[in-house]
Amino acid sequence: MKALGKEVTIVMVEDDEGHARLIEKNIRRAGVHNEIVPFADGTSALDFLLGKDRSGEASIGRYLLILLDLNLPDMTGIDILEKVKTNPHTKHLPVVILTTTDDEAEIKRCYDLGANVYITKPVEYESFANAIRQLGLFFAVLQVP
């Protein structure tokens, strides 16, 4: 997965270690071998994405794809989505919501805020793996700027 000839880095914001591991395993099985930078909470993820000063300048020139869980211990994924999509330096970054939450209002809210894809983590593992594999296909056609 490349953008303008550069390798895209996958930023995974996921507090559950098990989920993070399963997502990683399935992404790799789908044949995606990009670097994955994991974050277990919202604060450290924002530190990385927008910088400690939250200006977003830290992401200038980066090619990132964000995998975002909504249920984080210190803030909601929606807070992160909102901050990323309103910052001029990060709003173009594709964001994939990957979460256990299947609330209709929440899904709509995420799309309204500019989420690119919303995937519900199914308890059934076959579907889970399938969803991640489809995500791999999505990555393959995705034009990351």
């Binding site: 909470d41 210190d74 909601t76 593992y125």
Partner: protein, 498 residues
Amino acid sequence: MQTVNRKIKQTAILLLLGATLLAILAGSSTFISFRSNAAFEKTIAERQLRRTAADLLSALQDAETGQRGYLITLDPAFLEPYQGARTRIPELRAALEQRLVMDPRRGEDLLAELDALIDLRMGLIETTLEAAGAGDVPTARAIVGQGQGKPAMDRVREVLGEVIAASDIRTSALVSVQGRMNRWLQVASVLGGIAMLAVVGSAFVLLARQLRALRAAEDQLRRLNVGLEGRVQQRTEDLMRANQEVQRFAYIVTHDLRAPLVNIMGFTSELETALKPLQAYVLADGETVTEDNIRDARLAAAEDLPEALAFIRSSTRKMDGLINAILKISRDGRRELKPERVDLKALAEQAAASVAHQLGETGGEAQIDVKVPPLVTDRLSVEQALGNLVDNAVKYASPGRPLRLKIRAVPDGPRMVRIEVEDNGRGIADTDHERVFELFRRSGSQDQAGEGIGLAHVRTVVRNLGGEITLRSVHGQGSTFTLHLPVDLRAVLETVRT
């Protein structure tokens, strides 16, 4: 309401009394006027008796005058008064007899004497007139000269005078009776007027009081109605809030339980996947085992299997933890509250003492300022709430500065107190002010151990006491948690029961 009823009763009794008095007065007035009427009628009868007596005397004198004139002149014109008197005398005598019933003293005797005298006198007159008519004037004059007529006539005058005098005495007595009756009647009218005024007045007062009572009752009803609507509104809001909380709670619980479940299912499948290369190697049974087979089997045995097992175990433990936390919150909600006198100052000092060691290590300090009398509340609940808040203050102190912990308690209206726990710790971002009270949710960087249960627990406990917890905080500067608690828990439990 009681006094109004009593007043109405009093007025009604007054009204009844007035009406009774009025009836008595009306009765006596009627009686008096009957009496007065009777006296008046008697007076008229006495007048008639008097006139009849006088007329009788005058008729006799007329007869005498006629006799004398005729005897002197022999002019028959003088016989006219005699003739008129002769016809009038029996009529008048009959009338006198009839009217003499008024005179209780004299009746038969008087009439008999009077009859005799009249007969005698009239007989004498007749005899003389007959004699004169026959031309024998000297005989007639001789009879007159005998002087029999005069004493009879004098006696008649005497008798009739007595009748008149007696009638006059009775008349004056009747007049005085009538005067008395008139005065009584006047008194009765005045009293009647007063009684009437009293009755009308008390009826008016009664009506006014009843109207006032009615209006007061109406006002009270309206107020009660408004109060009732307000209470229904309040209860509905409470119920809606509770319902939303239950939904939010159920949402959080199901989603938080689902997360470890995803892990368990996922790593069970990973376990299966890892089992395949292992089986291919271990259960080869004579088939050729390739280098790849061996490498995959070793990888599965060394990494995939232990990793999957570790995640399954940790996820199971996490689920157990979640379930226990839910049970704890649920138990707190069901615990029987024991209202007792609780000295907040002692409780605050105890909470501060429990963290004194940590405070001492970092050069921090605690200030306690309790300005409320002891509450009546559940000791354990307040102890847990305060303890949790103080623990949090220590746990989330800002690393750069010593902790300044302040516990204040001030009255908040007559029925509530405010207990504030203020720190100068790392603070909570605006977006998380509501979220920190939710189950399993935490704010800020996750550099401290914890499950996100403490504040959810405090909120449950405080709401059980009929109170509320609020938060003021500036990120990076500090937080102030405020417990709003009722002064008397018994009153709260009372309203909940009713």
